[in-house]
Subunit: 356 residues, 2 copies
Amino acid sequence: AEVKKIAVIAGDGIGPEVVAEAEKVLKRTEEVFGYRFETEHALFGGIAIDEKGTPLPEETLTVCKSADAVLLGAVGGPKWDNNSKELRPETGLLGIRKALGLFSNLRPAVVFDCLKDASTLKPEVLEGTDLMVVRELTGGIYFGEKFRREGSQGEEAVDTCVYNVTEVERIVRQAFEIAQGRRKKLASVDKANVLETSRLWREVVNRVAPDYPDVEVEHVLVDNCAMQLLRRPASFDVIVTENMFGDILSDEAAMLTGSIGMLASASLGEGSFGLYEPVHGSAPDIAGQGLANPIATILSLALMFRTTFGYAEGADAIEAAVSNVLNAGHRTSDIAVDKSTAISTTEMGDLIVAAI
Amino acid sequence: AEVKKIAVIAGDGIGPEVVAEAEKVLKRTEEVFGYRFETEHALFGGIAIDEKGTPLPEETLTVCKSADAVLLGAVGGPKWDNNSKELRPETGLLGIRKALGLFSNLRPAVVFDCLKDASTLKPEVLEGTDLMVVRELTGGIYFGEKFRREGSQGEEAVDTCVYNVTEVERIVRQAFEIAQGRRKKLASVDKANVLETSRLWREVVNRVAPDYPDVEVEHVLVDNCAMQLLRRPASFDVIVTENMFGDILSDEAAMLTGSIGMLASASLGEGSFGLYEPVHGSAPDIAGQGLANPIATILSLALMFRTTFGYAEGADAIEAAVSNVLNAGHRTSDIAVDKSTAISTTEMGDLIVAAI
Ligand SMILES: CC(C)[C@H](C(=O)O)[C@@H](O)C(=O)O
Ligand SMILES: CC(C)[C@H](C(=O)O)[C@@H](O)C(=O)O
C-alpha cells in the first residue's frame, strides 16, 4: 500500500498516554491489513510553550502540512492558564485550525450501549440518540477583529463576528452531504431574529437546500436548540452551525450522551486532509497515572481511516475491536461502575490491539 | 396604600389568557392586603404590528415609562415570522429592553416538586436544583453595530459585540448581591480563552470580587457551563453572564428543571422599576383554547410584588396559593399526567385566587 503520513501531536496532560495506545493500534492495522504509515511527532500546546516558547512552533506546522492527516491527543492545563494570550495552548489550537484551513469540525454524539446509564438523562429520553454536530471552525467571532478602546463609559472591549457567503456555503453544503449519508435530516442553528450573520447564514441554507431535495431542513434558534437537545435528543440527525454556537452545542450534545470520554472528532479542510482528536480534554488531574481512557483517541483514528484514507476495512475493524472489548466487560476507571475492577490505559490499548 | 401603576401588555398567542388570570390575582390581593393598583393596557408585539404598524408603539413606551412595573404575557407567532426586521415582534422586545434600560434579566430555574418527573434529567441529578441566571440584557452582540458589506469572498455580514466596564460592573455587582441573598456562590460564565469582551468581563469580576468576600466565585467557560448544567445542576447557585450566552444558558437551565411552563422572570433597570414575564413563549398552537397554564405569569406577579413593590406579604401569599393548588392535585393540561382530569386556564386562575 501507499505510505500515509500521519503527524502525531501528543500534547499535554493525558495526551501522550492516549496517543501512545492509538499508535499501537496503528501498527497493528499495518500487520493485519498491510497499510503503511509513517508517523512524525511534533510539539504543540503547553509542552511547546515550555520547550519552544510558543504553543504552535513553525516546525509543527511544517510537519502537519507535509502529512496526510494529524492525530492530536489533548492540549492545555492549569500551568499555562494565566499566561498571556500568545503563550496559551488555546491560541495554538486556534492557530493550527486557521493555518491548516480546517473549516469544519465534525462531532458525532452517540450513546454507547454500555454507557447509557452514565448519562444524567433518563434512558428513555436518550434512546436512539445518534447525532452529528457540524461546526464551522475558522470564522465568526473567534477570528474577527478584537480590540480594546476608550469609550464614553470607560474602557470597552470589542469582538467582531464576520461571515461571508463562501464560508457559510462550504460548511452548509458539507453538512447537507453528511446528512445524505445518514438519516437525511438537517437542523441549521442560528439566531436569525437578532444577528445579521445568522440572517446571512439562513439565506444561504435556504438557497442551497433545493440542491439536496432528499434532506429535510429545519431552522432552529440557538436558544431553542439548547432546550430541544435536552427534550428530544434522538430527533436530531445532523446539526450545522457557526463557530461559537457550535462550541456550546457540541459540548452540550456530547455531555448528554454520557459517553464524553469515548467520543471522537474530526476537523476537516478542503480535500481529504484532516485533524483527528478525542472530544475530551487533557485531564491534568489524572495525567501520568495510567488512568486515562484511550478509546476516544483510538476511535478518532478509526474516523481518520474512514474519512481521510478511505480505509473502511481498517476503520470497521478498530470500531469492532472497541465494541468487543467493551462487551467483554473491560473498563477503564472513568467508565467502570466498580472502580476496583478497572484496567489501565495500556491494558485497554493492548486488549483492543489484540481484538483487531 | 399608595397606588402602584402597572402597565399590562397581554401580547400575542396565549398572552392575553394568562395575563387575564394574573389580573384576577392582582385584584384579589387588593381585597386581602389593601394594596391599590392602577393598570393600563398597552399594545405590543404582533398585535401592535397588526393594529399600529409597529411592534413597539410610542404610546406603549409612554405607558410603560409612567408605570412602576410592567407585566408582559408573551409575544410573537408564525404570522409575523417572515416579516422584515422592523415589523417583527422580537424587534419590539429588543426595543423595549433598551428603551426602558432593562439591563438585567433574572431567570430563576427551580424544580417544582410536583413536576420533577417532567424533567428529562434523572431525579437524583436534579435533586436540589435551584439556580438563578443573571443575564446582561442591553449590551453585547445583540445591540452592537450590524451590517452587510461586499467582501473579497462575496457578500459578508458583520455583528459587533461590545461591552464597556460600566455595563459589566453594574450587572456583575447585582449578581454578587443576589448571591449574597442566596447560597453565596457565583459562577461567572465567559469565553475568556477566545473573546476580548470576555477577558474584560473576567477582569471586572476579579476586580469587584473582594467587595463581596462572603461570595465564592468561579469562572466557567461557556462551553463547559453548557456541560456542567447537565452534569451537576444542583451545584449552581447564581450564574452571571453576557447577553448571548445568557440567552442560551438560561433556556438550557429552564428546560432541565422540567418546569418551564411554571417559571417567572424579571428584567430590571436602575431603581425598582422592572418588567415581569413568564419564561414560556406565546404558544400560538394552543392559543384561545383555555389550555394555557397561567402559573408562570402569576408567579411573575409575585416576583414583581417582592422585587419592585417590596410587598413580601402579597408575594408570599401568591406563591403559597400556587403551591396549595398544585398540592391539591390541580393541573392544567401541560402539566397533567392524566390529561382527562386537566382544568382550564380560568379554572386554574380561579383556584389560585380562592386560595389567597
Ligand atoms: C479551547 C477552545 C479555544 C476551543 C474552542 O472554543 O474552539 C475548545 O473549546 C474546542 O471546542 O475545541
Ligand atoms: C426573542 C428573542 C429576541 C429573545 C432574546 O434572544 O433575547 C428571547 O429568546 C428571550 O430570551 O427573551
